[in-house]
């Protein structure tokens, strides 16, 4: 059983989305020990003992994670289905140091497909959150 199915169907954490289920769309992106991966191609039994972070784990109480807040501020979505994956990837992208300029962000966000094509606003959101992080 995949990590994605365990999260959604057994742990009742449906924030992580199932898109293609074959590792090509990025909707199921989560962090394993701080590294972003696609949970649809991750066998759950192989991550025993590791720390899994999903979209449900980003906010601190009522306070949104800076990348979540930036997606709200920049209107970084239309239908919202890819958004949890975009946010998990965006936060990782900034954390990894891959958010210096537009082309670098686009390249390192390319594993997350948005069929509504909200890309300009997704880019703006990641940029805004990256700027805030530098300011801190």
């Amino acid at each position: 059983m995949t990590l994605l199915d365990v999260l959604r169907d057994h742990l009742k954490l449906p924030g992580t989305k199932k898109g293609c289920d074959h590792g090509t769309c990025g909707a199921c992106t989560v962090w394993v020990d701080g590294h972003r991966v696609v949970s649809c191609l991750t066998l759950a039994s192989r991550v025993e003992g590791k720390e899994i972070t999903t979209i449900e784990g980003l906010a601190q109480g009522e306070k949104l994670h800076p990348v979540q807040q930036a997606f709200v501020d920049c209107d970084g979505f239309q239908c919202g289905f890819c958004t949890p994956g975009q946010i998990m990837s965006g936060a990782a992208c900034i954390q990894e140091g891959h958010s210096h300029n537009d082309s670098e962000i686009r390249e390192w966000m390319s594993g997350n497909i948005c069929r509504c094509a909200a890309y300009p606003n997704i880019l703006a959101a990641v940029k805004q959150a990256a700027k805030e992080k530098t300011a801190i």
């Binding site: 995949t2 289920d21 590792g23 991750t42 066998l43 039994s45 686009r106 390249e107 390319s110 997350n112």
Partner: protein
């Protein structure tokens, strides 16, 4: 989807013994295995998880490149010494797949991934793709014309790298040159020379002039796609003259394809665009094309020319 058991051996010997049993396979990054399993195209009873086996380490001095088989694509591609001493490896890795996949995929698994073609991705051996513009132009067989998908393998082919392989029954590790690691797909579509239980433990290469190297990848979209055509080039230059050139290409062969005739034509020639164009003239020799993919011959030459021109400055 079939059920399977997973074992987690802690050392190479136990891993090899487990995977040599019938209907067994290794799982490393899992990006190919889990994908194919969901399609019903990976019917094994036992997966041997090698995550706990110590096959790690990145050494990338100018004297030697050594990559542990379980190192992740992003970790190698972003390694400072790999970037400066082996740009061709860093570029091939970071232009592949997506950041998430690159955090999963390993060096060994990358070499063994299957072509993304219906022929390799369905449980019915009688189903095949129709002709497509992505088809390979070298190494075709009646059963397979899908290009080999790995970017890393193309770079390693150009580097004439060595694959360390541990076989069964306590035999010593074998050293397999990249030129002998793959063969044109056979009747069972197998295209590597590994035997059941064989485990890739590391990749090694020694190319003193590897700093002057480049991997150019041409795709239909800007990122996150397999190559339509790619070129891996290493140049040894002295006083503006090519002492040695290494050329391999992706997207054109059913396995990574090297071009000794182009390498020979470049040797001793001035490193100028004019002489590069002359040396690349017959690069498409032996290509078998159809109306949809005939463009690949010209694209192959132009991609390689760009790589040759980009490989000149030392960063």
């Amino acid at each position: 989807m079939n059920n399977f058991a997973i074992s987690r051996p802690r050392d190479v010997g136990a891993a090899v013994a487990a995977a040599s049993r019938p209907s067994s396979a290794f799982i490393a990054g899992g990006t190919t295995v889990v994908d194919l399993w969901k399609l019903g195209a990976f019917p094994v009873d036992q997966l041997v998880d090698i995550d706990a086996v110590n096959l790690r380490g990145i050494e990338a001095t100018s004297a030697r490149l050594r990559l542990g088989a379980l190192e992740k694509m992003n970790a190698v591609g972003e390694h400072a010494d790999v970037k400066s001493n082996y740009p061709i490896i860093s570029q091939a890795l970071l232009l592949a797949a997506s950041p998430q996949i690159r955090n999963m995929g390993t060096m060994g698994g990358n070499l063994l991934q299957r072509p993304r073609s219906l022929t390799y991705r369905n449980p019915d051996p009688k189903r095949h793709d129709g002709p497509s513009r992505f088809d390979a132009i070298f190494g075709l067989t009646p059963l397979s014309r899908a290009p080999h998908p790995s970017d890393l393998a193309v770079a390693l082919m150009a580097m004439d790298a060595t694959i360390r392989v541990q076989g069964v029954n306590g035999t010593p590790e074998r050293l397999v040159k990249m030129a002998d690691f793959y063969h044109i797909p056979d009747h069972s579509l197998k295209f590597d020379t590994l035997a059941p239980g064989d485990l890739i433990t590391a990749i090694e290469a020694q190319v003193p002039f590897a700093r002057r190297s480049v991997y150019v990848k041409i795709r239909d979209r800007a990122s996150y796609q397999f190559a339509v055509v790619s070129a891996a080039v290493l140049l040894d230059l002295q006083g503006g003259i090519v002492r040695e050139a290494r050329i391999a290409a992706g997207g054109v062969g059913t396995i990574p394809w090297r071009f000794p005739q182009v390498e020979a034509a470049l040797k001793g020639q001035p490193a100028t665009q004019e002489s590069f164009v002359v040396a690349l003239k017959d690069m498409g020799q032996g290509a078998v094309t159809h109306t949809q993919n005939a463009f690949k011959v010209e694209l192959l030459k132009r991609t390689t020319l760009r790589a040759l021109l980009e490989a000149q400055p030392i960063v």
